[in-house]
Symmetry: D2
Subunit: 317 residues, 4 copies
């Protein structure tokens, strides 16, 4: 395949752009390949693990993840607890504002504003979260005393009413959400305070290991879409590995392989651990997820839609 001169034409669609980027070079080629791998996953009926980090839920990708669950693109979600807290905050109407990476942090602190890159969360949003989560925990505790994490998260999702919520769509569409470090956030603090009053309240992380293992079998085709690094990425890879390895994998990350970290690990490195063998079935895109993922996924959705392979979308209805 040869490099082709890229040209602007008016009103170009994202699909057309990503198609053309496949002949441009460097990360644009990897991006187009990643989009192809997503289409391939779906066409071959792979069970798709979608993993993301909390900061992506702080961003506007949150609504997109919820939509992907509704569209039956994601079969299993793995994430960190901060994002789930913020998904709940947003479903109760909290708003996060857009600021600057170089904001004065001492000043922000005095105003009660917490910074995540160029996004801002008010202290009030955390207080309101506390007000909402305590009655939720009460309801959960009344149902039973011992919960696997994903079961509890499903229960919370059923109590929400926001079609742009990840927890809501996951619960409604029977997509399990796994969160291997459920206590690593404000939610962990509230769980702890609740347990202080109810010593028999147990969050069973060990049981959830079985739950994620049984989401797929050795016989299933399996795909991983890992956005960013962290334990979300690792947990999905680990679980597909224990079931014989993923058949398809795309990683989108700003980290590099030079540090030997999980965040920067490539789909090449994954081959040493698992069974992905064919070059055409994996892609690693280096870049910011907030831009790279919409590009790769929009093209994949447009293609799947055209081919009638997409569940009907009602999220904009």
């Amino acid at each position: 395949m040869y490099v082709k001169d890229f040209l602007w034409t008016q009103d170009k669609t994202v699909k057309q752009l990503v198609d053309e980027l496949g002949s441009v070079g460097f990360q644009s080629v990897e991006l187009a390949k990643a989009s192809d791998v997503i289409v391939k996953m779906k066409k071959n009926s792979a069970k798709i693990f979608l993993t993301f980090t909390s900061n992506m839920v702080t961003s506007g990708l949150r609504g997109f993840f919820a939509q992907l669950i509704e569209l039956k693109i994601a079969d299993v979600i793995v994430t960190t607890v901060g994002g789930l807290e913020e998904d709940i905050m947003k479903s109760f109407g909290e708003k996060f504002s857009i600021g600057r990476f170089s904001a004065d942090d001492v000043e922000l602190h005095e105003k009660g504003i917490n910074r995540v890159g160029n996004l801002m969360i008010n202290n009030e949003s955390y207080m309101n979260f506390e007000d909402k989560i305590l009655p939720i925990l009460d309801k959960i505790y009344k149902k039973k005393k011992r919960w696997a994490v994903s079961e509890m998260l499903r229960e919370i999702g059923l109590m929400l009413d926001d079609k742009h919520s990840i927890l809501y769509q996951a619960a409604k569409n029977n997509v399990p959400i796994f969160c291997p470090a459920i206590t690593d956030g404000a939610f962990g603090f509230h769980l702890y305070m609740y347990q202080q009053k109810h010593k028999d309240f147990i969050i069973d992380v060990v049981a959830d290991f079985g739950n994620i293992l049984f989401t797929t079998s050795h016989d299933d085709k399996k795909g991983v879409i890992a956005l960013g690094g962290s334990i979300s990425k690792h947990h999905a890879i680990l679980c597909t590995l224990l079931n014989g390895g993923a058949n398809y994998a795309i990683y989108i990350t700003t980290a590099h392989k030079t540090s030997g970290s999980m965040s920067g690990a490539t789909t090449e490195e994954a081959k040493s651990w698992g069974k992905v063998k064919d070059e055409s079935d994996v892609a690693t895109v280096n870049g910011d997820v907030t831009i790279m993922f919409p590009l790769a996924m929009i093209r994949a959705l447009d293609i799947l839609k055209e081919e009638g392979l997409l569940k009907e979308d009602k999220s904009n209805a």
Copy 2:
């Protein structure tokens, strides 16, 4: 401004996507801002310096740069010589192929293939370049003995016949191309061999400093679009600085400011050197130029077109 849930809709255009990315977070916000700054540059009739590195001309962005010159977006080009060599190769029909970042380099070398990231250039292309450039140098030398770099490049452009060529469009549209390190490539070797036979053949880099200085005045509004780092970026900034500083600047780069390098220097750092003062007139986007630049520029072109501010485009005619 608040974070908004991003949603897929069928056949989304690039313009709509970039508009929406402005409310997503992290680099997507910076990207939308960069697109705005480009529109602002043009609306305020700034003289625009476009700088890029050689590898971007290896990629398919080459045709895009040529088109931007034809569309009167770029008023001054600053680049490195490798890209100009490849622009010439491509206008004589050489083709570069797309491969893998992890190709076996010893094997490639045995096959006479040179790798630039995931792009491949054959040794033959360099040999053909030599065949083409020698008669060109002859014609140039016959016209006069002492050439400022940009004058020579214009002369070469006039000898080409490829509407997707940067040199061709620049010559045709009276856009000067500056290349402060004209000998740093195969072209440098050919210049040297030629000078061995013609001792009075002089490439005058000092005179070209005056030429770039006089492309703009203190009174002109000036904008810089710097893609990647290198001396291309530095030279454009230096020259706008000597004329009172740029009014607008966008930098797109994968480098980070932590190393103190020019490649990673931000538009913030530029403020310490120049006169850009308003936050809304600068943007630094961290990411691969082959993806980020088309996104920001396509939206800007669509807007300028809609508002009748764009010269008629004939590059697809």
Copy 3:
């Protein structure tokens, strides 16, 4: 303070080098500052949270971390489970080999070798881990049925006999190890299999949130040394925040702040969330932990030793 010309002298010590790097520029300045902050933490009797990711335990830093615990530098450890598994493997004699980042991963997989950057772990090491961990789980279960994670890890440490082991030194020196995602690794699988046979075996992650909260109080001075990103870093920051914020913090990471991720978050961003206010008490070093951390820490240890502030070291005895 002015930039000073750096000069080689024979047999320069690390301490002298890092002192001099403080006047060189870019990350060398940040590194020297980080070393100062560590000294300051210790002189002011701050409780020190040391966090690291699993890949650092894959590397030879594992012995260094154990030594720092023995030397009473670290008061609280937060890490991910992969590193704990490897700490156990190493204390039972497993060896990891050094290879290449660009190794052929398909070939490695066929040989039963798993790659972590340029380090290699044999499948046998995981099998041997399984053989060792099962009797350990049996002993733990016989003691009691419900364990907070850090209590269980202490119990495991008491069963090991390797002075270079993190778990061993932590248990011996009463330094708690927190691991908020205890199931995210082979250990998680073994816990799950064990629980299948012993339904009343409970790993209580919620109780451990209280344990980490009570390692320090609002009145304690607190310091954070965060190596790499991940939930280890986040969990330590969260817990110091809930106790009024850290007084000192150093972050060493290869990630950048541009993506808005926790891994790349700087000590500046930390100020918006917590109470660190003085510029001299925080430092963010961008670079590979395997080099940056030994440099900063060796100088700090040499200074503390000279000033008689270091517990006697027996790790080389």
Copy 4:
């Protein structure tokens, strides 16, 4: 080779540290390898090309580079003009101060301070540079009218009197300095102004291509130590390539190969272009040069000194 537990011992030397880092993992392994390659270059009497970017001369590495020239480590220097300007400023007593990456750039500009990462250069230093450089140009012009760049730089070096100056040591030790973009800085502006008054003053960049080509022959063993990216790195590689390729190469850079840029190009990629074949003769270290280069080089110098292979050092006399 196996991973070894790293341990602190009091007063550890840099040499011992780097030796031990060779068994730690990730970039520490690459660093130790880079140090080995430097020793190998010297032992095998390779002609060594040392390349660096301007910001490294802004930093305290400037004195180190001068010392390496005096110690006969570097045979050929390739760099950018900004660093040469600052080398001259420093030899006339200008001082650069150390500040913060997050300084307020608008405020700095008002104070007449220019920022390079966390280093600061006063406007006065540029004015004093102008006062010094004009009489130097006069003397040069009086000698002859047409100068190859490296010849002119040698002439300037002979006029300086500072043993920590790169230009001074290079001139005194007959080490040529190549600067393919001599006009890309304040010096370019002064050359231009001078030429305006003396139209027959010619800086011949083409002739210098021959000069760098003839620094080595096909038969010489050749080594490249490339610090950072930019045309300095590219020019050295190009010239060794035209003479049959380098036998040894180390690259130290913060850039990554994912963007396809020269700055991030690895020594692997170099193999596709040239003739380096043996894995043991090349190393790419990812990290900040201000830390990585002193570490690798100090160990190499200590080894060469011990083995009596080092020219006597007088730079601290």
